[in-house]
């Protein structure tokens, strides 16, 4: 089939799927019974006297919107990282950004010395940025030779472990804060409200638009540094811009819903499989798929231990870990 027609029909199909999934997410597995029809009424003719409709508008809708945007942001961040490093295993959770951001947030939200020094989003971005810088230096990934791919992932694992250990130490020292930090480390959308949404969406949107604008440069970077430079790409500028976008996307996400892994790793691969290697085509698809995956995980997070909630991050890890192993085996064998 013709590529533009194929892309367009796939895009429409994905959007329709996303709308259905979103609708399901708004009413499924609610402790107070909510029906699909309540959702329809809440959206079209809101009546604040009906409890079910108020649940949809006050609790479910901000949660759904957050899930959609979180998924898109993490998918975009993973795509940029894979593009910049030319490493199929690159993703925020693999290369230490998640763990670093978590440490940054744990520090400002528990330790009195750091308390209020920065906002939690800034702390997440600083922590994530620092961790990533370390990983890139240790894995010598700025030279995109392609031979150091294993080394980069090893550096990511090491720095992630270090950050996780420090985060735990901080949490243990400040016991009264511990429970909150632990839920947040597992990554959950249960606390997403209109208030957190209002600070999250502008930042994430900037990151997503930036990511789309970076795609032509990412395409040329796949030809190797020498060719990219030869074709007029300013390497330093593209890498810095890409890194900054990853930090904005991941930082905003983590400070809103906590550490959610594996979306950034899995989704770009599926999008590539569907759309081919052109970043301009597969990044938008990756965003839609990411939004769908996180929304699905959030829906399931209410179902698995109903009426209790399982963190969505834990569900994604259950799906993501086997996929990661599959990717590693496919590369080396």
């Amino acid at each position: 089939m013709n590529t533009p027609i194929k892309s367009l029909s796939l895009g429409i199909l994905l959007c329709m799927g996303l709308v259905l999934l979103s609708w399901w997410n708004l009413f499924a597995w609610s402790v107070v019974p909510v029906t699909g029809l309540d959702v329809w009424h809440a959206v079209t003719a809101f009546d604040s006297q009906v409890i079910a409709q108020r649940i949809v508008i006050d609790l479910r809708l901000p949660r759904l919107l957050t899930a959609l945007l979180v998924g898109a942001a993490l998918a975009a961040a993973g795509t940029i990282m894979q593009g910049l490093t030319r490493n199929p295993l690159a993703a925020p959770s693999v290369l230490g950004v998640n763990a670093g951001a978590a440490l940054g947030m744990a520090l400002v939200s528990t330790l009195p010395a750091f308390y209020g020094a920065f906002s939690t989003s800034i702390a997440a971005m600083l922590g994530g940025g620092l961790a990533w810088l370390l990983v890139m230096l240790l894995g010598s990934a700025w030279r995109m030779g392609g031979n150091d791919q294993g080394r980069l992932v090893l550096a990511g694992v090491a720095i992630s472990a270090l950050c996780a250990a420090l985060t735990k130490a901080v949490v243990i020292m400040e016991e009264d804060q511990a429970a909150g930090v632990m839920t947040w480390l597992a990554g959950s959308l249960a606390d997403a409200r209109w208030q957190s949404w209002s600070t999250f969406w502008p930042v994430a949107l900037v990151g997503l638009i930036g990511a789309l604008l970076l795609t032509p440069a990412l395409n040329l970077l796949q030809l190797g540094e020498d060719n990219a430079r030869n074709l007029g790409i300013n390497l330093l500028r593209s890498k810095l811009l890409g890194s900054l976008l990853v930090l904005i996307l991941v930082g905003a996400t983590i400070s809103t819903v906590g550490s959610i892994g594996f979306v950034g790793l899995i989704v770009p691969h599926i999008a590539r499989l569907l759309m081919g290697q052109d970043f301009r085509l597969f990044l938008p698809v990756a965003m839609l798929l990411g939004a769908g995956l996180v929304t699905l995980a959030d829906t399931l997070s209410r179902a698995i231990t109903y009426p209790m909630e399982t963190p969505a991050g834990a569900i994604l890890a259950l799906i993501g870990a086997p996929f990661f192993i599959y990717l590693v085996r496919k590369r080396t064998l």
Partner: protein
């Protein structure tokens, strides 16, 4: 329009390989950079291609510092074919060649009708048009080299730099490539290539630059440069100079 070095030193890890070089490459010629291993010919080319920075001195393009020249503008004027190329996954031949048009396309990289024509023309010129729907990763080494050549030709630059383009090629592909470069040169393109084979350089190129230990030793036409004395001095080789029976160009024959 010209490429030149001014007191230029280039190297790795603080060690200069090209030392205080002054050199102006003539416009419109087919130029070979020659010299024994480690003489700095590839290092110099890498500096002209901005893969390596200048340690001291300056490489200049049109009288301006090459390394401060705007990237996008330079990519319309100076193209590079690196010695070893990555094997991009999942990219079709025509898409790779089309990337050669990126300096000219708008920000989003959409090709105009004219861009499409140039891409097709370059594929035809390099004999890769029949491969256009194949994946680059499926091709043989020689085919892939031609596809990369088509890409840098699609860049449509007046200057083209090549780093040992014939090294991994069969002899027939080597000859084919040299003929092609000669044709491009006749069409007005300045070509600067690092070569190993002195006789190949003397036969096809019209300007030779000979380096030794990071310094410029000789430059000029093959007749001026390719002499027994030069081979003795630069390569420590005893050789006679004869005429190539086909092209009439000088060629060296090594003595026992």
């Amino acid at each position: 329009m010209s490429l030149s070095a001014h007191q230029l030193s280039v190297g790795y890890h603080g060690q200069a390989i090209v030392k205080d070089m002054d050199l102006t490459l003539p416009d419109g010629r087919f130029i070979a950079l020659l010299g024994p291993n480690g003489c700095g010919k590839s290092t110099l080319l890498k500096c002209f291609a901005r893969i390596l920075p200048a340690m001291s001195g300056e490489a200049r393009w049109q009288g301006q510092n090459l390394h401060a020249y705007p990237s996008k503008q330079l990519s319309k004027e100076l193209a590079l074919l690196p010695q070893t190329q990555p094997i991009p996954e999942g990219i079709k031949v025509q898409d790779l060649v089309a990337y050669g048009r990126s300096p000219y396309t708008g920000f989003w990289g959409k090709l105009s009708q004219q861009d499409h024509q140039i891409v097709e023309q370059m594929m035809q010129q390099t004999g890769t048009y029949e491969l256009k729907d194949k994946l680059v990763s499926e091709l043989s080494g020689g085919q892939r080299q031609r596809v990369w050549l088509a890409m840098v030709l699609a860049q449509d630059t007046p200057y083209l730099l090549l780093d040992e383009p014939t090294t991994y090629m069969d002899i027939n592909h080597q000859v084919e490539l040299m003929h092609q470069l000669q044709r491009l040169n006749k069409q007005g393109k300045t070509i600067i290539t690092v070569l190993h084979d002195i006789n190949q350089a003397a036969r096809y190129c019209d300007h030779l630059v000979v380096m030794k230990e990071g310094e410029l030793k000789h430059q000029g036409s093959p007749d001026e440069v390719l002499t027994s004395a030069m081979l003795k001095e630069v390569f420590s080789l005893n050789a006679q100079i004869h005429r190539d029976p086909v092209a009439g160009t000088p060629m060296c024959v090594v003595e026992d």
